[in-house]
Amino acid sequence: MLKAPGDQESTPNVKSATETESRARRVPPLLTDPPAPSAREPNFATPRFRDLRERLIQGALRVSAGISILTSFGILFILLKESLPFFKEVSPIDFLTGTTWAPLMVPRDYGVLPLVGGTLLVTGVAALVVIPVGSLAAMYLSEYASDRKRKILKPMLEVLAGIPTVVYGYFAITIVTPGLKAIIPGIEVFNALSAGIVVAIMIIPTVASLSDDAMRAVPKSLREAGYGLGATQREVTVGVVYPGALSGILAAYVLAIGRALGETMIVTMAAGATPQLTLNPLESIQTMTGYIVQVSMGDTPAGTPGYLSIFAVGLTLFVMTLCINLLSFWIKRRYRQAYA
């Protein structure tokens, strides 16, 4: 970072001290003579006033940057604090290993596995659809499309990521589900398959666009080496470019899966409200997010275990997405070392 005239000495940088110094030497020293005071207005340009103002502004900027710390720990703190009373009544082991989720009717059961299973089923369907579709689309954008086509197609594809999820939910129940019913007559009105497919459509741009970036970062010389050995374009794409960009592509998959895990409106509207452990995507299920919406829209009295359970479910979801995020950071860090 460049050093500015009037910087406070206590600036907490200097990791690469030599570099900062050599750059600072190129910057002329602070002009100590203040400009001549104007007759009309008081002189605010004195070094003292300027230093004070600089310090105040820097403080304000620092506070703004620190909001993310507050938000992160705020979410974690609130989830822990609110689910604590729940875990006083329901043991965490029963919660995490129970296979029946029936918090709103007697006999009550608080086994979260059906909700986790529902979330994973929808995410699984979405991943099965989006990984081939998104990867192939990325291969087209990066290897086959001309620069002009790519410049038009990529932003258009990214429109898909900007459509509100409630619109996708509507799409799922009014168009995709009836369409699936025409092909598979036995499918239930609310089902994991339709929700999963629509979630997949939503995250196509995430996978395609990030994988395209990763594949374009593969050096041209590798492709040329492939062609030099007599490979066809498909053989180069599948055998050289895709493996060469694999870590970036994996990071894109992981990011997309993280978005599918936390997706709320599509699964609430299309996947149903029947918590059950099943691998059959044609059945109605309930996801963690779907349950949270159901309770917060209903009239479960605040303070009861039924209501507090949403915070325990939220905490479970938070831990799952945190693991996914950490995985993607880890992959990305490895990727950076690949073609620097």
Binding site: L2, P12, P28, Q58, R62, A65, I69, T71, V293
Partner: protein, 306 residues
Amino acid sequence: MKRSELFPNNIARRQRRDRLFRLMTVGATSIGFIALAVLITGVLIEGLPFLTLDFLDRFPSRKPELAGFKAAFWGSLWVIGLTTAITVPVGVAGAVYLEEYSGESRFQKLIELLIANLAGVPSILYGMLGLIAFVRMFQDTTDPTYFLGIQLPFGRSVLAGACTLSLLVLPVLTIATREALRAVPDSLRKAAYGLGSTRWQCTRHHVLPAALPGILTGVVLSISRALGETAPLIMMGALTYVAFTPAGVYDQFTTMPIQIFNWAGRPQADFHSVAAAGIIVLLAVLLGMNALVVLLRNRAERSRIS
């Protein structure tokens, strides 16, 4: 490995496979566009008959042909206006600190990691944060008390909704703004420092104006996201049936996505058409915002000294 295994000699077959593969990639790319086209056509066919001028001027009703979007439309404008007012200064300031002030510090590394993680936290969890931190302010009731004319806790108000959405989209804006700031050449800063300007003077008068087009893109990206969000607002208790428009920041509200969700969930088919009409309005507003930013950005780019 034998040579014949590495690249088999039957070139005609390999080229046939190549053509097939190319078709597959084209097909995969078009799936997204086909879905988009089907979605938009479906919504238009369903919704257009219900989309009258009156639609924006009526409150919700139990009869689909009388149902209107007024409360949701104005509710969304209130929430989004306030969200913008909170998000833009805070997000840009945070990004400026990280790019122009902090240098490579531990504080910066921590924040970078947290922002990247926050961008991946499901939006409904922000709704929980909003419910506890803003709607209830860690109390058991939402009965308002007043402190210096500020109502505490915020209750299920426009203000609480806007604060929640701001926290949700801050990472988006911060990441985009940082990228815009990083693209400003160092020569600009060197010139400003060389003339004796302080760090803030340089940032305010040179770096921020140069980064403005990129920042504007980030603003629209984050505000569009806030405009389409449903789950966190439902979580924090925004209403689904509202027959008034907010008159102040402490009023209760509903928004367009929530109203659409409500209509789409009803059993009568006619309400699905009303939902489609609502979707047309929502998408039109989003499209308008994005078009506006393209205009603004072109203008900012033209007036910039390159």
